[in-house]
């Protein structure tokens, strides 16, 4: 296991995307973690007299219209984005992968039902379900997690199922089957480890999409609620002050774009490092 990791890592280091993306992603997570123990200023401190200051030694990126330190808001915003994306992807994996595995293993009507459920969930663009869910349950981080998570399930189900189907055709599976192993055991012991790399890659993609989705929902006012800072909300607030303080719109946008870019690059590089066949086709 460790040997495999080392091998992947070494392959990865040769890959530009893996390195650049990896560094950005790592930075992002570290910063998000850091926010738990330290921020230059407390983000709940509204100080109207200090509003809209330009960057200086006390406020490294300046302050917003409420006098809050932008740098601190960005760090805590990173944390909120991570949490939302993480749990949402977790929901997708936790429910979607088993569904996909079962569909591939059972085929027949079980497969049909799961595929129909997939089609149906795809029919609801996540934004609409998010708007509807938050309209019912009220806006907030938890509800946006549910909304984004729900849309992750069919994605992972589809990926898991597709990958699993091609594994099921392999010889060693047939061998295990004729040896009398049940589909549950086969799925767990043979199929899952072999689709692992595809899942990991999809995870990075969905994580990036989750961050974008969270930003979009917060921008519309449906996601993370005040006083908790969120990148999307910062952009929405900045929009009316584009003339007074355009820098307010730049920082959160750059943060989002950079993080998503880093994650996508990392995912690309990982995919190349993980699968030698794919590597050639980069």
């Amino acid at each position: 296991m460790v040997k495999r990791f080392k091998e992947i890592f070494q392959h990865g280091l040769k890959n530009r995307s893996f390195v650049i993306g990896g560094i950005i992603t790592l930075l992002f997570f570290l910063i998000a973690l850091l926010s738990y123990v330290w921020t230059p200023h407390a983000v709940e401190n509204l100080s109207i007299v200090n509003k809209l200051r330009l960057p200086d030694s006390t406020y490294w990126l300046g302050t917003d219209h409420f006098g809050r330190d932008i740098f601190s808001m960005l760090i805590v915003g990173a944390r909120n984005s991570v949490i939302v994306a993480f749990v949402a992807v977790g929901i997708g994996i936790g429910i979607g992968v088993p569904l996909g595995l079962v569909a591939a293993a059972r085929k027949g009507w079980v497969d049909e039902i799961i595929m129909r459920f997939n089609d149906f969930t795809f029919a609801f663009p996540s934004l609409i379900s998010a708007i509807m869910i938050t309209a019912i349950l009220g806006p907030g981080a938890v509800n946006s997690i549910i909304a984004i998570g729900i849309f992750n399930i069919p994605v992972f189900a589809r990926v898991a199922r597709g990958a699993a189907l091609s594994i099921w055709k392999r010889d060693f599976i047939l061998a295990a089957r004729s040896a009398g192993k049940g589909s549950f055991k086969i799925s767990l012991e043979h199929v899952l480890p072999n689709i692992f790399s595809m899942l990991i890659v999809q995870t990075t993609i969905q994580f990036a999409l989750g961050i974008l989705a969270e930003a979009g929902l917060s921008y519309l006012g449906l996601g993370t609620q005040p006083p908790a800072p969120s990148w999307g909300k910062m952009l929405n607030e900045a929009q009316t002050m584009l003339y007074l303080a355009p820098q307010l719109a730049i920082y959160p946008g750059v943060a989002i774009a950079l993080t998503v870019l880093g994650l996508n690059l990392f995912g690309d590089g990982l995919r190349d490092a993980l699968d030698p066949k794919l590597r050639r086709n980069r």
Binding site: N45, L46, I48, H65, A135, G138, P226, Q239, T240, L244
Partner: protein
């Protein structure tokens, strides 16, 4: 041949010159006004939304009286009136030769129809209270109507100037929601839902014709989009501009001018007087000391707005300045909380409707209250939810809203109003006020009323909403203040 060419050439040049000159001389006749909230329909007698009046009041519909830009009652469809000696009967002399936009003639029958429809049992009029004092409405002649009241009502003529009291025609009343037919100087042309409402000049208007040939009200709910639209010249005016943070920027634009005026909007931290800690006077007093009004005005409204100490417009001559009484003092607030039995503060929920004065103001208030130990959970709600939860079910602790109806201090006399303030002393005051007609006497009672609700700290009185008007420098005649919910375009025109 040559001379013919010269003549022809000269003629052509002259025509071009003339065309250019005349187009430069001809002033624009069309105005596009921006508005934030789209009305759900266009019948002001069947809905309370200010947005309805902001489209149709004075433009499409008129009443017996009208409120002008200074908040003064003026004759409209009623030319003159006589008040009986017992002050209970008003005899209105109606204007002759007035027609509705569909050609129907306006006469006393329409007045009877409109008033009885508004005060009837099946009425969907949102301000039935305006009509409750009416005992009977009688036709005394083709153009004469007598209205008799159950008791003396000092504000009756003003009440008849509200948008909910406009005159409608029986034939078209049912379809006014989608096709408003009134007597005003503008005719309804069409409504593109979600985008704009178009009006054109009514050439059969009884009164002074308007200078504009066309008026378009454009719906722009998003403050950022509103700013962009003004800057780009997509709209000519925005009477109630929703983004005070952009006003300083708009001022620097050479095409635009910013006109700050008053509204009748008392923006208050409404408190559920029947809930938990807020039942205690000391807790409510602590709230009053804990909020820094000027900081809220600076932070949420970027300095536009005037702090108030009671529920009354500071620009009204009867206003009593009570802001110093509960001047910002967080230490005193903590002390009062301790005396009330909450030395460590307590937790509460604040529900905030969509406008930025509420959302931004709410965040600032939350941070100020946190400093004295009160932890607020902020719950943003849409208007539909606010009306359901806060206003009707009274399921809230605190909220922030701006009451924009003029002279509405009387709401504190309603004991089942959403802040649940029940003071027999205050109710008696308001009753007395309604019966008083003499101006000085009324002002004295209004002063007492203001002091009473301030002493009882019924709500956190924060500030008076300012009217940030932005329009093209070449436009004249738009209202500077908002004494009533309206976008009166009847006197607007372009100088070039």
């Amino acid at each position: 041949m040559n001379s013919l060419k010269k003549i022809f050439g000269g003629f052509a040049v002259a025509i071009c010159f003339f065309m250019v000159a005349s187009s430069a001389m001809a002033a624009k006749t069309s105005l596009t006004m921006g508005m934030v909230l789209e009305p759900t329909h266009l019948d002001p007698t069947a809905g309370a939304a200010a947005s309805i009046d902001e489209v149709v009041y004075a433009n499409i519909f008129e009443g017996l009286t009208r409120i002008d830009r200074w908040g003064v009652v003026r004759p409209a469809l009623a030319k003159i009136w006589k008040i009986s000696d017992d002050k209970k009967t008003y005899t209105f002399q109606l204007r002759k030769g007035v027609t509705f936009h569909d050609g129907a003639e306006f006469d006393a029958d329409d007045v009877l129809f409109s008033l009885n429809r508004a005060r009837g049992k099946d009425s969907t009029n949102a301000q039935k209270a305006l009509f409750r004092p009416i005992a009977k409405v009688e036709k005394k002649g083709k153009y004469v109507v007598a209205v008799t009241l159950k008791q003396v009502t000092g504000s009756f003529l003003f009440n008849m100037g509200w948008g909910d009291a406009v005159m409608v025609d029986p034939a078209s009343a049912g379809s006014n929601k989608s096709n408003p037919v009134g007597t005003g100087p503008f005719k309804f042309k069409r409504w593109v839902k979600g985008d704009r409402i178009e009006m054109v000049k009514n050439s059969n208007y009884w009164g002074k014709p308007v200078k504009l040939r066309k008026a378009v009200i454009k719906i722009i709910p998003d403050p950022a989009a509103a700013t962009a639209a003004l800057m780009a010249g997509d709209i000519d005016a925005f009477a109630n501009f929703p983004a005070p943070e952009a006003l300083s920027q708009l001022e620097t634009n050479p095409r635009l001018k910013v006109v700050i005026g008053n509204t009748e909007g008392e923006t208050i931290l409404s408190t559920n007087n029947q809930r938990g800690p807020f039942k205690k006077l000391k807790v409510r007093q602590a709230l009053a000391f804990a909020i820094d009004r000027q900081a809220i005005v600076d932070g949420a409204m970027f300095g536009y707005g005037k702090p108030i100490g009671t529920h009354f417009s500071p620009h009204h001559p009867a206003y009593v300045d009570l802001t110093k009484k509960f001047a910002y003092n967080p230490e005193k607030a903590k002390q009062l909380l301790a005396e009330a039995g909450y030395p460590n503060g307590f937790k509460a929920v604040i529900k905030l409707p969509p406008p930025s004065y509420a959302r931004r103001g709410g965040e600032i208030v939350a941070s100020q209250l946190r400093k004295v130990g009160i932890e607020l959970e902020i719950i943003p709600v849409e208007w539909a939810q606010w009306i359901g939860d806060v206003f009707k079910k009274r399921d809230y602790d605190l909220t922030i809203v701006s009451h924009t109806e003029p002279m509405d201090i009387g709401i504190y006399a309603r004991k089942d109003y959403y802040f649940a303030y029940d003071s027999p002393k205050f109710q008696a005051l308001i009753k007395k006020l309604n019966m008083t007609v003499d101006r000085d006497a009324r002002f004295k009672i209004m002063g007492e009323a203001q002091r009473l609700i301030s002493d009882d700290c019924v709500n956190g009185f924060m500030f008076q909403l300012a009217k940030g008007g932005v329009w093209n420098k070449d436009i004249r005649g738009l209202w500077e203040n908002s004494p009533i919910q309206a976008n009166d375009l009847t006197e607007a025109y372009w100088v070039k």
